[in-house]
């Protein structure tokens, strides 16, 4: 683990709105192939933190280093060009295109063909688009209008789009929000498998503790804008401060975990 390079390092990141310190002095690092979860109760600053990492929000102070480059305050599209894939809490796809075309647009952009007025997009990089759809288990849907997809399938499509630029890092904001329990686990298993196979680093925020504790290598806990704990799932689970915040969910998880271990 120690020889794998650092993909992302965040140093003393802060952001406040008016008098509210949404994020203060957050620092952490993420290595290649590592799956890192960012958790915390509502209003802890997860989304603000996330938006600053992908360029939608500009930090007041602190630095972000992505893949060896200082990306503080850079635009989302510039960060994407560095090799960062992104999924959203509420899926963002192109509803008037087919499923495959959704992926093809991302491939067009990756190939820097955006201002090409001549080629045919429906024929553009079909093989690669099919491969990505296959990877997320969507190959049967490639001709379907994206606007007709069920929510779980949209999430999988988003993952395929996020993988189009052969990312080294995936940023996933609540990847399983709004999904049925079984779908959640499937999607995160899929993500984790792809990440490990291709040695992609993953940073995700999540409310579902089952998902977090099953898949994260390491967990960051945010509360009121500050990092209060960091470590392996086991360490975080034992942390009394985290337990205080996550009283309900933590205990529920423990109970289930013991049941599972007992079998």
């Amino acid at each position: 683990m120690s020889i794998t390079p650092t993909l992302l390092s965040v140093d003393n990141l802060s952001k406040s709105y008016g008098g509210v310190h949404a994020v203060r002095g957050v620092s952490f690092a993420l290595r290649a192939g590592e799956i890192l979860a960012l958790i915390g109760p509502n209003g802890a600053g997860k989304s603000t933190c996330f938006d600053m990492l992908n360029g939608q929000n500009i930090p007041d102070s602190g630095r972000i280093n992505l893949l060896g480059e200082d990306t503080t305050g850079k635009k989302p599209r510039a960060i994407w060009r560095l090799g960062v894939g992104r999924t959203f809490q509420i899926t963002a796809t192109f509803p008037t295109m087919t499923v495959r075309e959704n992926v093809q647009v991302a491939l067009v952009s990756y190939d820097r063909q955006l201002f090409n007025l001549w080629a045919s997009t429906p024929k553009f990089a079909q093989a690669e688009a099919n491969r990505l759809l296959e990877l997320v288990g969507m190959s049967g849907f490639s001709e379907r209008p994206c606007g007709e997809l069920a929510y779980g399938d949209l999430k999988r499509l988003e993952l395929a789009i996020a993988l189009a630029n052969q990312p080294k890092l995936l940023l996933m904001d609540e990847p399983t929000a709004g999904m049925a329990p079984r779908e959640r686990i499937e999607l995160m298993r899929l993500t984790a498998q792809i990440a490990r196979d291709q040695s992609i680093g993953v940073l995700f925020t999540e409310h579902d503790m089952d998902v977090v504790f099953e898949h994260a290598d390491r967990i960051l806990v945010l509360n009121r804008g500050s990092l209060i704990a960091e470590g392996s799932p086991e360490e975080v689970r034992r942390n009394p401060q985290v337990r205080a915040i996550y009283l309900g969910e933590g205990l529920v998880y423990d109970a289930r975990h013991r049941e599972g271990a007992g079998v």
Binding site: K75, A92, F94, M97, W118
Partner: protein, 627 residues
């Protein structure tokens, strides 16, 4: 000094009427999201009905009662329109309601001439306000003073209505989030109807109050609607106070512009509007529009390139069109050329509007710039026709590059209004810069050279260019650039997250659309042999919008069909009847109600239904397996 003060008061008096009309439009838009193009028509109708009533009933009660009753009568007409027409199309694609209300406007224009005759009508003076007050040697009509007082009173009444009544709270809530209001059990239908009634009442009242100051005539609607759009946009859509402040600002600009900057008096207002929108994109008092929720169940069929069979059909249609000189006379060929030119124009707007999601209300600017480009090159530089046709559209391209850069910083209605402002600026320059453009007299004698002079040759030229333009735009729609543009339209968030520079893509599309419109304008100059400021005017911009909407916004080839149907129909109607606007307006309204997806959209729906019924069994089983 006294003179300027009086001028200031005159401006304030004009502001009262403008405020009434603008606040009505603003309220209607805020709640129903309808850009009510017919608002000017209701204003005009208010003036006409008030004229009739005040003529019939004499005395103070007859006059004031007449104006008020006119407001109520026109509001009742508005309610009828809302219930019969608009209710059916609230869920139609955005801006489709604009088409419906445009159709209504056309109808009203002919109806008022039918009922009240074509000549200007001079109304009575207001009882009790017939005289004037002397102010250091300047006369101030007392009626103006009355109007100056009325504006703030109406503002106060509206404010109380919105702050203190249950209805007002509902309207404000609906302005912020109408779906939420519906979810809370409020009867949306009646809320919309009552809001529409109030808005129309204010417009009609504004019209009625103008009769002691101004003659009533059948072109009042277009004159006011542009001013009202400007006021509403400067003030911020949905804001009553904004409408008031902007009405005063615009009226004062009009009052003083003519004194201080006579050369640019017409464009002054539009320059200010453009400046306001660039600095404050949602107007002085407006807030950023909440993103509209997608209508559930509204799935759009993804666009497909033509199959080889369809391509053959298109080629056959083109060949058939090329055979027109064999059967048609010179008149038919001239009409054919004009239709071909408008196909190019409509296709260029369609590219911007449907593919880019940028509905321009001022697309004629680039059409007209292309036409003027040709006229300058042919008349001043004396270049040959081919060179003019190739270089003339570059003026449209240049204009689109400059204005487009600013316009794409905005979106939605504000984008539409900024493009309208730019078009008005260009129009005013053509109109007022007489030394270069000839002003209202235009530039004459732009005739094609001998090889293209005969009607059949010019027809083939226009048809060929049209086919080339439509085919090129179609290729671009399916090119990577076209997809990048659609991606930006569909989801700005996602497209930015996959490396697409949305503003740059949209700007490029604006330039492409402007250049193609310039090509159409260049041909148009040769067809007519002259260029006038009209070819930059609002009515031409609206024509283009109607063609695109008529064909179907959500289709690839709708603009072509829309342009052919609309242009052919309007030319034919003008030759057949004096009431061409009435019939055309009625046809548009009928089409809107019957085919809310446009003509081509309807055909596609029928076709996809037919193919789906055979496929659905198969699809159903596949879905089951997938789940």
């Amino acid at each position: 000094m006294a003179f300027y003060f009086v001028q200031f008061l005159t401006g304030l008096a004009s502001a009262a009427s403008l405020f009434l009309v603008a606040s009505g439009l603003s309220i209607i838009f805020g709640v129903t999201r309808i850009v009510n193009f017919a608002h000017g028509a209701f204003y005009m109708l208010g003036a006409y009905v008030a004229f009739t009533l005040t003529e019939r009933f004499s005395g103070a009660i007859g006059f004031w009662g007449g104006i008020f009753a006119a407001g109520l009568i026109v509001a009742a007409v508005g309610v009828l329109v809302e219930m019969v027409l608009l209710r059916r199309i609230y869920h139609a694609p955005e801006l489709f309601q604009l088409l419906a209300t445009f159709g209504l406007t056309l109808m009203v224009e002919d109806l008022v001439v039918l009922i009240w005759g074509p000549s200007d009508l001079l109304g009575r003076r207001a009882p009790g306000f017939k005289g004037a007050v002397d102010f250091f040697g300047q006369n101030i009509p007392t009626y103006d003073l009355f109007l100056i007082g009325l504006g703030p009173v109406v503002l106060g009444v509206l404010w109380l209505m919105f702050q203190r009544t249950r209805w007002g709270v509902l309207v404000r809530a609906a302005t912020q989030d109408r779906d939420m209001v519906a979810a809370l059990g409020v009867n949306q239908k009646w809320l919309f109807t009552s809001v529409f009634a109030l808005g129309v009442f204010l417009a009609a009242l504004g019209g009625g109050l103008q009769i002691p100051r101004d003659a009533v005539h059948h072109a009042l609607d277009l004159r006011i609607i542009v001013d009202v759009f400007v006021v509403v946009v400067i003030g911020g859509l949905g804001s009553i106070i904004g409408a008031f402040v902007a009405a005063v600002l615009v009226s004062e600009l009009n009052a003083f512009g003519i004194l201080i900057f006579p050369k640019i008096s017409i464009i002054l207002v539009f320059l200010v509007m453009a400046a306001v929108l660039i600095v404050r994109p949602w107007g002085l008092f407006g807030k950023q529009e909440a993103a509209a929720r997608r209508t559930p169940g509204l799935t759009v069929n993804p666009w497909r390139p033509l199959t080889s069979r369809e391509r053959m059909a298109a080629m056959a249609a083109l060949a058939l069109a090329a055979a027109l000189p064999l059967i048609g006379g010179n008149y038919a060929l001239t009409v054919g050329s004009e239709i071909a030119i408008f196909v190019i124009f409509a296709a260029s707007l369609h590219f911007l509007m449907s593919v880019g999601g940028l509905a321009s209300f001022g697309h004629a600017a680039y059409f007209g710039l292309g036409a003027y480009g040709v006229a300058f090159l042919a008349k001043l530089a004396g270049l040959p026709m081919i060179a003019c046709l190739l270089l003339g559209p570059l003026l449209g391209c240049l204009g689109a590059a400059v204005f487009g850069f600013f316009a794409v910083q905005l979106s939605g209605v504000y984008f539409a209004m900024l493009t309208l402002a730019f078009a008005q600026i260009v129009w005013s320059i053509a109109f007022q810069w007489v030394a270069v453009t000839g002003g209202d007299n235009g530039i004459l004698g732009v005739w094609p050279e001998r090889w293209a002079a005969s009607p059949s040759h010019f027809y083939w030229l226009s048809l060929g260019v049209a086919a080339l333009a439509v085919a090129s735009l179609r290729i671009i729609v399916f090119s990577p650039f076209g997809f990048a543009l659609r991606a930006t339209r569909d989801s700005p968030l996602r497209s930015e997250a996959i490396g697409i520079d949305g503003k740059r893509v949209q700007w490029t599309s604006f330039v492409i659309a402007g250049t193609v419109a310039g090509v159409a304008g260049a041909l148009f100059a040769y067809l007519k042999g002259s260029v006038f400021p009209d070819s930059l005017g609002i009515s031409l911009s609206v024509d283009a919008l109607v063609m695109v909407l008529l064909g179907g916004v959500e289709t690839v080839s709708g603009a072509v069909i829309g342009a052919i149907v609309y242009k052919a129909l309007s030319i034919w109607l003008v030759s057949q009847t004096d009431l061409s606007k009435l019939v055309l307006g009625a046809v548009i309204v009928l089409i809107v109600v019957a085919f809310p997806k446009g003509i081509v959209g309807m055909l596609e729906t029928i076709r996809s239904r037919r193919t789906q019924s055979s496929k659905s069994a198969l699809l159903g089983s596949r879905v089951e397996i997938a789940e």
